[in-house]
């Protein structure tokens, strides 16, 4: 997970005012509560180490050397007869303090430089960004070894240097967090209302980056303990203080005599770091407010619609279509009992406000509903075959070959990693079983047909190199490339400029006339419906409220919802072509 998104999530959740219950959500998560409990026990043990054991951790009693665990020595004794439990507890004290030193240094450096770089930018931002990439390319362990040559085996200095080496992770977090907040309007509002920079930082920015920093800190704490014990394991630590790493090093020298000596400090290290990791994960989950996994299982228990209810004369006949999404232990139905027909060469408009279920209907026809969607009931009969029967295999077979899709947002619907040529030719080579050369030739003809000026150049181009209007033409060319009979278009003009919109509608209309295409056209715009469609299906809250021939529905709407939709879009305005021309004029100005 990148730091930027985490800050964005924190920002969102703080805007929702949910940060207040963050601790509550953290404690309700069993893993989070366990991690906090383990950490609390370890910290308490470290603080009260001298009170918990009667032994001096450095007391050498050669008679007890390699003593097995017993009532006197609960975890046994090491090669010099020192009590292992006493050393583990004292080791906790020093190991945690060492990690704390690293943590404090990392947070102070990262927080201060991140705030300055994010808030003021400029040369400081540039310099600290370069420093960051430099430091991140240095292997910390090697640098710490080099530093030890100069400063000697000092736990605190070593950990402070490590804190500086790992501070870029905090720096990046804070900087991107500050950037996110700065772009939010409320900081501008705060500034306009006369708050000083320090107040803004304290009140808005620190509030947002606080949780991500705690998550990162738990990770850093873990790494610091690992690095510290690694150094000591190499025998480069201060051998006179009993930290967990020194104990591991000592145990390793006696691995053949008593492997158990490696186990206890190792377990202590793994338990501490594990608890830190779990704590970080739980806090992240609490921050993102992850929805619980739906418990819904089994069938919806609806009466099944039979394929015989479909209209045999239609290219596409939908009956009883009902789709839901699992939410807790039930299904939340988003479209219910949808029924309509599309005949050969007919354009059917699916109209409604956002949330009316028109896109869900379109995706159902294509079999492209998002993960988790459940088709509770319904038949979608295409050319005499029920697409939903046979586990959706018929639908998969028809997809791309007989039924094609034109999406809403052209720029995000081409794979940025492949050339347009590749994306056009791959389906043709698969469905039409033609050679690459033949597919390329066909693709160039298609691009020419949809009105692209330099088709050869466009074939070689990547999606980021063409405009939105061109991308939509490419997508339309792709949709018709395998000679489908039915096109499902999901608001194909909404994301485009007004002038381009009219051209795309003209293109779709002429393709329909030329190839006898049937079309399901999803839109919220009655102007487009009047312009292109033969019949219309009006949807509200997942239900079909009215359907019929375009002229009839537009002139004499029966349902109140249709009337209100029409009133809000067409009432008293000029015919659409005039409107378009006027908009185009305004846009040009």
């Amino acid at each position: 997970m990148s730091t930027g998104t985490l800050a964005a999530v924190a920002l969102k959740s703080s805007r929702r005012g949910k940060n207040l219950s963050l601790t509550g959500r953290l404690l309700r998560n069993p893993l989070g509560a366990t991690a906090i409990a383990i950490l609390a026990v370890i910290v308490l043990a470290a603080v009260f180490a001298p009170l918990l054991t009667p032994y001096d951790p450095n007391l050498v009693t050669l008679a007890d050397a390699f003593a097995k665990p017993s009532a006197a020595h609960w975890l046994g004794a090491d090669s010099a007869g020192r009590d292992v439990l006493a050393r583990i507890l004292t080791g906790a004290h020093l190991t945690l303090l060492g990690a704390l030193v690293a943590l404090v240094v990392a947070v102070v450096i990262g927080l201060v430089s991140g705030l300055i770089a994010g808030f003021y930018g400029g040369w400081f931002d540039t310099v600290s960004d370069l420093t960051t990439s430099l430091v991140m390319a240095l292997p910390s362990m090697m640098v710490l070894l080099a530093a030890r040559v100069v400063v000697g085996p000092n736990l605190w200095i070593t950990m402070a240097i490590f804190g500086a080496l790992i501070s870029p992770s905090i720096y990046r977090l804070v900087r991107s967090g500050v950037r996110e907040v700065r772009e939010e309007l409320y900081v501008d509002a705060a500034r306009v209302s006369g708050l000083s920079d320090t107040r803004i930082i304290a009140r808005h920015i620190l509030f947002v980056v606080r949780a991500p920093i705690i998550i990162q800190a738990s990770i850093i704490g873990g790494i610091a303990i690992a690095i510290q014990s690694g150094l000591e394991f190499l025998g480069l630590g201060d051998q006179t203080v009993p930290t967990w790493g020194v104990m591991l090093s000592e145990g390793f020298r006696n691995i053949y005599i008593s492997p158990l000596l490696l186990l206890w400090p190792g377990l202590a290290i793994a338990l501490t770091i594990g608890a830190l990791v779990l704590f970080g994960n739980a806090l992240r989950d609490a921050l993102e407010d992850k929805p619980t996994v739906p418990k819904w299982r089994g069938s919806a228990g609806r009466v099944r619609t039979s394929a015989s209810e479909a209209n045999p004369d239609a290219v596409l006949s939908v009956r009883g279509l009902t789709v839901g999404y699992p939410q807790d232990d039930r299904l939340k139905t988003v479209i219910e009992d949808i029924a309509f027909d599309v005949h050969r060469g007919e354009v059917v408009g699916l109209v409604g406000e956002s949330g009316s279920g028109k896109t869900q209907t379109a995706w159902s026809i294509l079999g492209l509903l998002p993960r988790g969607a459940v088709t509770e009931n319904g038949v979608i009969v295409y050319d005499g075959t029920d697409l939903l029967g046979d586990g959706g295999r018929a639908q998969q077979a028809a997809l791309g070959r007989r039924i094609a899709y034109v999406p809403q947002e052209p720029m995000s619907n081409l794979d940025p990693l492949f050339t347009i040529g590749h994306q056009l030719t791959a389906p043709m080579r698969k469905h039409l079983r033609i050679s690459k050369e033949e597919a390329t030739k066909r693709a160039i003809e298609l691009l020419d047909r949809v009105g692209i000026k330099d088709p050869e150049r466009t074939m070689r181009a990547y999606p980021h190199e063409v405009s939105g209007g061109m991308a939509q033409r490419v997508l339309i060319a792709g949709a018709v490339s395998c000679d489908p009979q039915l096109i499902v278009a999901d608001e194909p003009t909404t994301a485009l400029d007004v002038t381009v919109q009219a051209e795309i509608l003209d293109l779709l209309r002429s393709l329909r006339d030329e190839r006898g295409l049937a079309m399901v056209f999803v839109t919220h715009n009655f102007g487009v419906v009047a312009d292109l469609c033969d019949s219309v299906v009006v949807m509200q809250n997942g239900h079909v409220v009215e359907k019929g021939a375009v002229e009839k529905v537009l002139r004499e709407p029966e349902h109140e919802y249709t009337k209100s939709l029409l009133a809000s879009t067409l009432d008293g305005t000029a015919p659409r072509r005039e409107n378009d021309a006027k908009f185009a004029e305004e846009a040009a100005r």
Partner: protein, 313 residues
């Protein structure tokens, strides 16, 4: 593409220069400290001065730096203060061991993390839970401790692998494989955990993008869409994490080499640190940073090859 590679190469050389210069200056700033570290705390003032003169530490820092730099650009990193052998020679003897470990680990990590991450993203369910458990274990257990446990279990108890020692690849492939398997497992576990998590979340993120729905609508087949398009889209962030992991792996290798008594750069720098052998420590640090630069360059080139947009930046 060529200018992209050249720009990355220049950036890498600058990084190498700055990093090694800083290391030199930090290590050499306190020359009497170095002498004391070698002679011990009881050293007299005369002994310290004599040692400094012997090692050339009595000259001004800037002169020594110029001298070191002039040598370094010609590939001469001086001689070890303890064995009087050339630093480059000593390092080149040990490099194959460490390279075997870290490159082997990166390859193993990349393969397993991609497979597991993609599986976890598409299948969810038990694979997903396995990955989550693995990621906590991988993040919690330091790699040298995993190495210790592997030695105790697989080498000392089951005798499946040798506990210590290294067999060069040029000598025997099976011997080399046996000698690096446990160390690579010890190093890879943590790396796999973190790269798998990245692959998984990148895969899920890319699979949810609009163009994946459109690709599916073209009837290209689930296999083609997931492996050809989604995985490729998820590769860029995964490679970034892999490059970061490599830096950490170099440090991990230092300690893991000790566990398995492998004669690699880790042992060289550990001994050199204990002895206060500044030229040798410098040599290992420079080689380590050079390895980071090379690996970053390779990963940048792969990223640029996968992602046409990355070539522009």
């Amino acid at each position: 593409m060529l200018s992209f590679i050249v720009r990355r190469l220049i950036g890498g050389v600058i990084l190498l220069f700055v990093a090694s210069s800083l290391t030199f200056l930090l290590m050499n700033a306190n020359s009497s400290g170095i002498a004391i570290r070698i002679l011990g705390d009881q050293a007299t003032q005369e002994q310290i001065v004599a040692k400094q003169a012997e090692l050339g530490l009595d000259q001004p820092l800037i002169v020594r730096f110029g001298h070191w730099l002039a040598g370094a650009v010609r590939g001469d990193f001086g001689t070890s203060w303890f064995t009087s052998e050339g630093v480059l020679h000593l390092v080149s003897l040990r490099l194959p061991v460490t390279l075997s470990l870290v490159v082997g680990t990166v390859i193993v990590t990349a393969i397993i993390a991609v497979a597991l991450g993609a599986l976890a993203a598409t299948r969810r369910g038990w694979v997903d839970r396995l990955v989550q458990v693995l990621s906590v274990i991988g993040a919690a257990a330091p790699n040298f401790w995993i190495g210790l446990m592997l030695v105790i279990f697989f080498a000392l108890t089951l005798h499946w692998f040798p506990a210590t020692g290294f067999v060069p690849l040029t000598e025997s492939f099976s011997g080399w494989t046996a000698s690096v398997t446990l160390p690579i497992v010890a190093l890879a576990l943590g790396a796999i955990a973190s790269v798998t998590a990245q692959v998984r979340s990148a895969f899920i993120e890319v699979e949810g993008r609009d163009y994946v729905r459109t690709l599916r609508s073209r009837g290209l087949g689930e296999r083609n869409v997931l492996l050809g398009h989604v995985l490729r889209g998820a590769a860029t962030p995964a490679l970034t994490v892999l490059a970061l992991q490599f830096v950490g792996l170099l440090g991990g290798a230092v300690v893991v080499e000790r566990v398995f008594a492998l004669p690699g750069l880790g042992q060289t720098i550990t001994d050199a640190t204990t002895n206060g052998d500044v030229p040798l420590v410098m040599g290992v640090v420079v080689v380590a940073v050079a390895m980071v630069v090379v690996v970053n360059l390779v990963i940048d080139i792969i990223t640029g090859w996968i992602n046409p947009k990355a070539r522009l930046s």
